[in-house]
Each structure stands twice: as C-alpha cells, then as structure tokens.
C-alpha cells in the first residue's frame, strides 16, 4: 500500500464541498438569505424582461400595423400613439376630402383609409360596467396591401363586398370570446353621431381571421362605407395609413411639412409613435429599476450579515484551520465561496421564479397600466437570466470580500481561545 500523500488537483472542489457543508449547518438562516437574494434577483430579472419584452412588443405591434406613417386629426399625440393599438374613446375624425387630397401624392407608395368606431358590446348597454368593441371600417384591397399576413382561419369564410351593409369579419379573439362562427350573427349597440341612444344592430359574420398576435385579433372589420354609415359619419375617416416610396428621416420630414399645410391634420411617423410609447413607460421602468436596485442592495447586506455572523460563530474553528495549515488565502477562499454559493443559488432560484412567474407579472402590469401593445410585454430570455446570474456572481464576489477578509485576518491562537 502506497502511504505517500499526493498532490490534489481538485482542491477547489473540496473547498466548494466544505462551503456547502458549512452553509448546511444553519439551514434556516441560509435558506432565508438565499430567499432574499432570490427575491431581489426575481425582481431584477422581471424588470429586465419587462424592459426587453415591452420594447419588443411595441416594435412588433407597430410593425404589424403595416404602415409607416399615419395621417389623423389633430389632437393629443398620446391619443394618436395609442389609437391604432388599443382604440380610444376620444376619437377625432378627418374631413372626408383629406383622402382625396393626399392619395395622389407622388411620394406615396400605398395608402389605406380607415374608419374607427367604438360599439358597446351586445347586451351591455344597460350594464354598469360597459365593455366595448373596436370596429374598423376598411377598404379591403388597400388594407390587405398593408397587411398581407392577414388570413382566414381554415375554412372560415371570406372578406365582405364593399357594398355590403350587414357583413362583418371578426378578429380571432372577438370570435373566440363571443363564440361566433361563420354564418352566425354578431350584435352590437352603436351610437350614431348626433344620437344620444345606442342603436341595436345585427350583422352577419362572413369570415373569422386567423390569430395575428396583434390588435387586429380584437377588432371587428366591416366595409368602410358600412361603418361610416352605422356611425352616421358618412364622409369622415379616422386614419390614413401610408407607406412612402422612400422612407427615412429626410423624406418623412419633407412629407410631414408638405401635409401640415392642411390645418386639420397631423402627420405621425410610426417611429415617433414607438419613441412616444417607450418614453411613456420609461419613468415607470426607472422607478422599478430603483426598487430592484434597493432590493439587491438589501439582499447583499443580508448576505454580508449572514456570512459575518457565521464567521464570528466559527472563530474557534477558523483558528484551528489556520493552526492545522490553512493559509490566509485558504480561509479567504472558503468564506468567499460560501458567499458565492448563496448568491448563485439565490440567483438561480430567483430566475426560475421570474421565468415561471412572468405571466403573473405581465397580468399585474397590464392590470395596473394597459400599454396597448399585443403579445408578451415581459420577455424573460436566457440572456436576461444569464446576465442576472453573472450579476449575482459579481455581487457575491464583492459581498464576500469583507467577511472573507475578516476571517482570513483572524489570529489563530486568539481565535481558538475566543471561540469557546
């Protein structure tokens, strides 16, 4: 039997194992500290997911509008920004001849007129909590040239004819919510312009769109003239959606200047809308970030406190370890690893919670403030999780420095005598 002692190439593994065993000693304290880190990391990951997801959702929603520029009635720019995304109650209308004036502009590649109206949902006219349906009156050929991805659910119908007065096509969410199929009727209470009472209207569903993941899923489409007639605004429009032949900052500026001569319109670039919407929640994001940073700092103080307590409790043991051959660096490494283990475990647990809880976070955010974008606004990607774990490791590195230094600086004999 060879009794010579051999060099160990896995000392780091042994230190990690020792660190785990030390942390197991006070399971409740360790678990609470890990929970604190986990909570802070979950907040940070959710915030990161919200920042990324929200911007992605804004971009996606606006790109899925299909046009680059909107011409609409002058009014609140925020209303303009959200109008096409989630509808709006303070709708303003363009004079009917705006379309005729604009449509022949040589810079325009394509243009589609849209009328937006808000109808009370069937049977809700007398309810205390009224719900609304967005009705879009559209010109099908030009509308589809902007949104070529719009398709019907398999075997679910066709577009209406322009002259039709009682046909509608439903977005997938509306159809699902109302349990409607092609051939069914669709009822709505519409208040024509000039009336004070809603008028009950019944339409025939001729098509149901496949899910697009956009605001169109929650929209009822009908022919432009049919919608304008129903709302008693026979010559008015809500929006002109446009694509320019050349779209960049310069051409957009020129186009804007050209049409701002019409006193009643504003020209809005979708790029501006994106910027406006993102800036709308930037303040909220900054505040949430501040809360997350404070949570992380509190968690770190908790980690430092836990490890320091653990170091003081083990004064005698640390003294013995130094006496039996541990260098200062060995003690530093051991205590530092314990801190790192807590931070890494906390970050992994926090990330898992954030990952699986992102749906709840999204619901909570939407219930507090509906930003009017479709799709997920909290997007937790492996990248966000990776950054969180890396960040925790870095924070763990710094949090462990002081307790590890204190432990490494202990003098062996005094420590052994103190640590009775």
């Amino acid at each position: 039997m060879d009794t010579r002692l051999k060099e160990d190439h896995f000392t780091l593994f042994r230190y990690v194992s020792l660190a785990f065993k030390n942390l197991r000693r006070r399971m409740v304290r360790t678990a609470l500290t890990i929970s604190g880190v986990g909570l802070a990391v979950a907040m940070a990951v959710s915030l990161g997911g919200f920042v990324m997801g929200y911007q992605g959702a804004i971009n996606r929603s606006i790109d899925m509008l299909g046009f680059q520029v909107m011409i609409m009635a002058k009014g609140c720019p925020y209303e303009a920004a959200t109008l096409m995304l989630k509808g709006g109650t303070g709708l303003m209308y363009l004079p009917g001849d705006t379309y005729e004036k604009v449509k022949n502009d040589p810079d325009i590649e394509s243009i589609t007129p849209i009328f937006v109206g808000i109808a009370l949902k069937e049977g809700t006219a007398k309810d205390s909590e009224k719900t609304f349906t967005i009705i879009n009156g559209i010109d099908v050929p030009s509308f589809l040239s902007m949104k070529p991805w719009l398709k019907f659910q398999s075997g679910s119908g066709r577009w209406f004819s322009p002259q039709s007065r009682d046909e509608v096509v439903l977005g997938s969410e509306v159809a699902a919510f109302e349990h409607r199929q092609v051939g069914d009727s669709f009822e709505a209470n519409i208040t024509p312009y000039g009336n004070t009472e809603a008028v009950y209207r019944q339409f025939k569903v001729v098509g149901i769109l496949a899910q697009a993941g956009t605001q169109d899923d929650g929209t009822v489409f009908m022919p432009l003239d049919s919608a304008r007639s129903a709302f008693n605004r026979p010559r008015q429009l809500t929006i002109l959606g446009l694509k320019l032949k050349q779209f960049n900052a310069a051409t957009m500026r020129d186009f804007e200047n050209k049409w701002l001569k019409l006193p009643e319109v504003q020209v809005v670039s979708l790029q501006q809308v994106k910027t406006t919407l993102i800036s709308l929640v930037a303040t909220a994001q900054t505040m949430i970030a501040a809360v997350a940073v404070i949570a992380v700092i509190v968690a770190l103080i908790g980690v430092i406190n836990t490890i320091l307590m653990s170091v003081y409790e083990r004064t005698g043991e640390i003294g013995i370890m130094k006496a039996i051959g541990a260098r200062r660096g060995d003690i530093f490494q051991l205590i530092w690893l314990e801190t790192l283990v807590i931070c890494l475990f906390g970050s992994v647990i926090g990330s898992i919670f954030a990952w699986f809880g992102s749906g709840l976070v999204e619901k909570a955010i939407r219930s507090l403030a509906d930003f009017g974008v479709s799709g997920s606004i909290v997007l937790i990607t492996p990248g966000v999780v990776g950054y969180a774990i890396l960040g925790s490791a870095v924070l763990g590195f710094f949090a462990g420095l002081y307790p590890a230094w204190r432990a490494a600086s202990m003098r062996p004999v005094e420590s052994i005598r103190e640590g009775v």
Binding site: L5, D8, I320, A323, I324, G325, R327, V413
Partner: protein, 217 residues
C-alpha cells in the same frame, strides 16, 4: 528568547529570557499560574508568533524574523496542534475532520492513512460518526488524529485535558506517551500538576522566566 509587548508607554515582558530545547521523542510539560507566560511560549513554539529578541529553530530551520506568511509555511507539515476546545467541524464526519488538514495542504484524501491514524487513537469504529455523536474524550482523540494526519515532528498541546474528566485525561496522556515512543516531540501546557508530571521534563514558568526545570527519570 524574549517576547515583549508594548501597551501605550508600558512594556509587558510576557517572556523575558527563556532558553531551552526539545528533542524528538520527548514530552515536555509547561506548568505555571495564569500570566506566567505559558500561552506566549506556546504561541512562539507553534510559529504563531515571533520572538522580539533571541532566536528559535524549529525542525532545523530558523524562524527568527519570518513574516506571518513565512511562519505558516514552517507550520505546515511540521507542527500539529491540540487545544482545550476540540473545534471539530460539526457537519463533517470523524474521517472527514481528520482528513481536513490534507485539504489545506493541497493533498489528496488518503483513506488508508486516515484509518491508520484513527486506529492509533482508538476510534476506527467511529470513522463515519458525526462529532455530536462522540464523548468529550473521543472528540479530543479525533483532534489528536487530525493533528497527526500530516505526520508532524512536533505536537503542541495547549491544555488538552482542560475539558476532560480525570480518567479520560489519563487516557489522552497515555496516548501521548505512545506517540513519543514513535519519535514525536510533544510540548504540553497544563494546570493539572498530576498530568504535568507524567512528562519526561517539566518546566515551571513564572513572570516570563523558567522558574525551574525538572527532568524525570
């Protein structure tokens, strides 16, 4: 060899000129009242502290003037320690506790060697037990086994029987005698005169000086 401390304008002469040597296979006990300099002497002999005057040679190597980090290097592999408080790691088994010094020396665990050492201290059958499952005497034996794991040349024992009853203390001193027969040098501080006089040589300290030194036959 002297060790003086400065407290403000006052100079504390913890050790004030001691001169002696300890040889391989010899057990020396250091007796004396509190404040006589026992702890300071143990600190110096353990290379946990350095003298302010004089020289000290451990296992043929002068340790005079070495920094704390250099003293650690002398300590590693030459000196073994046993203290009044056993300070076993409660989450490690007896075997793991005994193997712990190897980790700090960057050496692989050596189960065969560990078992031999545990057999020497009479605890082979307790190898997989946790410290909380052992008596005080058994825990001190584990601490001795831990000290022996790196095959030290000198074993420094500071009040090793301070927490043990008389019978257990006697068995620990019996073990020390066995170890000296294997060539180990052992230096022990103790308040217990009876145990102290079990050693080959007894030094009595008072006011930082060797009051008397008795060699036993």
């Amino acid at each position: 060899m002297k060790r003086h401390y400065h407290r403000g304008s006052e100079t504390v002469k913890a050790l004030d000129g001691v001169d002696f040597s300890i040889h391989s296979g010899e057990m020396v006990s250091v007796l004396g009242p509190s404040g006589s300099g026992k702890t300071t002497l143990i600190n110096l002999l353990s290379c946990l502290d350095a003298p302010t005057e004089g020289t000290m040679t451990v296992a043929g190597k002068s340790v005079t003037g070495l920094s704390e980090d250099q003293l650690v290097e002398v300590r590693r592999g030459v000196l073994g320690f046993v203290f009044q408080q056993f300070h076993l790691l409660p989450t490690l088994t007896v075997m793991e506790n005994v193997e712990l010094p190897l980790t700090f020396l960057g050496l692989k665990p050596h189960p065969q060697r560990t078992k031999e050492v545990l057999k020497l201290v009479g605890l082979l059958d307790r190898a997989s037990h946790l410290p909380k499952e052992l008596s005080g005497g058994q825990m001190q034996r584990v601490a001795i086994a831990r000290a022996l794991m790196i095959e030290p040349k000198i074993l420094v024992a500071d009040e090793p029987t301070g927490n043990l009853d008389k019978a257990t203390g006697e068995s620990i001193f019996g073990l020390f005698k066995e170890l000296t027969q294997k060539g180990l040098a052992i230096i022990i501080t103790t308040h217990n005169m009876a145990f102290g006089y079990e050693a080959d040589r007894v030094m009595t300290l008072e006011d930082g000086k060797i009051l008397k030194e008795e060699k036993r036959v």
